[in-house]
Symmetry: C2
Subunit: 392 residues, 2 copies
Amino acid sequence: MFSDKVMDNLKRASWIRAMFEQGNKLKQEFGAENVYDFSIGNPEVDPPEEVVKAINEIAEDKTPGTHRYMPNAGYPFVKDAIAKKLTSMYGLDVPSDNICMVCGAAAGLNVVLKSILNPDEEVIIFAPFFAEYKFYVGNGGGTPVVVETKENFQIDIDAFGVAITSNTKAVLINSPNNPTGVIYSEETLKSMAAIIVEKEKELGINIILISDEPYNEITYDVGELPVVFNIFDKAIVVNSYSKSLALPGERIGYIAASPKIEVCDKLMAAIIFNNRTLGFVNAPAFSQRVVAKAINASVDSNIYKERRDVLYNHLISLGFECQKPDGAFYLFVKSPVEDELEFVAAAQKYNVLVVPGRGFGRAGYFRISFCGNMDTIKRSLPAFTKIAAEYF
Amino acid sequence: MFSDKVMDNLKRASWIRAMFEQGNKLKQEFGAENVYDFSIGNPEVDPPEEVVKAINEIAEDKTPGTHRYMPNAGYPFVKDAIAKKLTSMYGLDVPSDNICMVCGAAAGLNVVLKSILNPDEEVIIFAPFFAEYKFYVGNGGGTPVVVETKENFQIDIDAFGVAITSNTKAVLINSPNNPTGVIYSEETLKSMAAIIVEKEKELGINIILISDEPYNEITYDVGELPVVFNIFDKAIVVNSYSKSLALPGERIGYIAASPKIEVCDKLMAAIIFNNRTLGFVNAPAFSQRVVAKAINASVDSNIYKERRDVLYNHLISLGFECQKPDGAFYLFVKSPVEDELEFVAAAQKYNVLVVPGRGFGRAGYFRISFCGNMDTIKRSLPAFTKIAAEYF
């Protein structure tokens, strides 16, 4: 009676959400304080003070019309504020017209992919990947092509080059990465850009680099991130304030297209059209205003760094193998048994919830989200010790 | 370099948005007070007092976690409040599990269509129709089938029956209607339901009735609206608070599936999955809370009734032909010349902006949105008098 494709997808439901639901069941049975739920990336951290202040000021603003429609791309003054910030961060002029406000990065990626893909064109993604990417590419009518990363989760440049075909339309990267926490260096990105230029010429195609950057403010002692607009000829940044301002429930983010794209006005027209017709219409008015008022605010990444260090150090001391994350708030840990589902089930016996790596396209690993409560993290350590005792 | 289909759609860009942009140009040239912009349905009315109060209270609520992710279907307490209200309004039990909070009705329709359509299945819509419907059906992978309404814009039951084929999957109605303001009577809906039951048996298919009801609180002396859940076997209501609470910029609404649908749990799972993977993720947290706090609030439809009466009476007195709207805030007026583009251009000479009927699938008419400022409406009357003098 309903969509066969959706019914089929439902059978392969999200591992992250499945663990989240399982967590809720365990919490009912054992009490929330006795369950160590590391399944979902739902920051326990609340928004920074500037954001709270902005929310109050906007709520009290009685100017007529603050909840009305605005242009589909967003309020001009909000786009101006973001364009100005990016211009300063990137060291190149990002015009306000290259910004489209969207309902979070998930919305932004769907809008961008729908704007550029023709039927069956390919989008390269790198495993392990954020599980939703495959759906987003499918929604845009394209085909995801998965390229494996190296043992340390960095891009395998040779494998990347081999994966590019005459059907390749886009490359989707996510740095800092969910689920691995790795950051791609400027050198890595420049190597990717060189291969793209080479393949574009060889195959007579255009390849667009899409950079999904919701964790760009959550980094640990790595300095400034490389700027994709300065490295790639045709780049689109998709960003969200879910992590940087701790507003995931509010659905607010933006798309920024590189000024280097030659026919950028056409691209932006397509993006704005899709933002409208895919049903987003516009990013929520209230949150747009919040973002503009708190444009320089960011959560303190030290909060996450402390959590990372406590968990990472404990796991390593127990014998687990894990790449130390440079950003984002996940540990992607090698399962001590080949079948990580076995490990995930074993962890559940100790009320520890982690997500199987196969949910991210890399079996044999599990993901721990460390954006939760520090007390929970500390209290979970003995449970990890007990689990480890079963394997090491 | 981008999506050919989107580029093609851009050429046939929205007439509503085109007039809205044209209006902005004229306002820059002649001053905003001298332009009579009846193009877009962007209510000038601000939210009711209960909503303003709710916004303030929620902004001041310092409980941790109010901006975090919640289940993709929305906060359970918000869904409960809506389910309770619908149960009381409809006189049948609407479980909370049958509600999914969405980013407005445009989002809700995209989510529902994606959840039910298989490739090339047909969705019947009635002309004149809300121009975006064709895009929404296309996004879901389906084909829109347009059925003409009668001279008075009511459903032509015979034409409807003829349009149903073995590929028909859904029927999309919008009452009170944009752009005509007509409301379908209980009798009309019952006739439609009877035909659907007959055709389902004859063709061995399932047909889902989708009722897009954002104007359900904007009605004029017509009493209670018929309840589609009580009339159709398989009905889904999509609603928005854009008009009823004057919050169009905030993107908040809901999907409610009829408890009579036999496999409703599967349908809701598909809806929640698509709400997530199409990139909405969840309806904005803040606005969900607002809706729950102001669950019984509604804008005063008398504000719109006054505007309707002033404009309608003046136009009729000038010789224009127009169905008197029973709801929503649009007049769909017969063009005094066959080619309404000629009329629309003539009106622009007097700084009057209206939208050509062909934008809604019915040439020879134009739409006036009367949700704007009463002063503007009154000051526009002499301009309409001058335009009329050219034709009558």
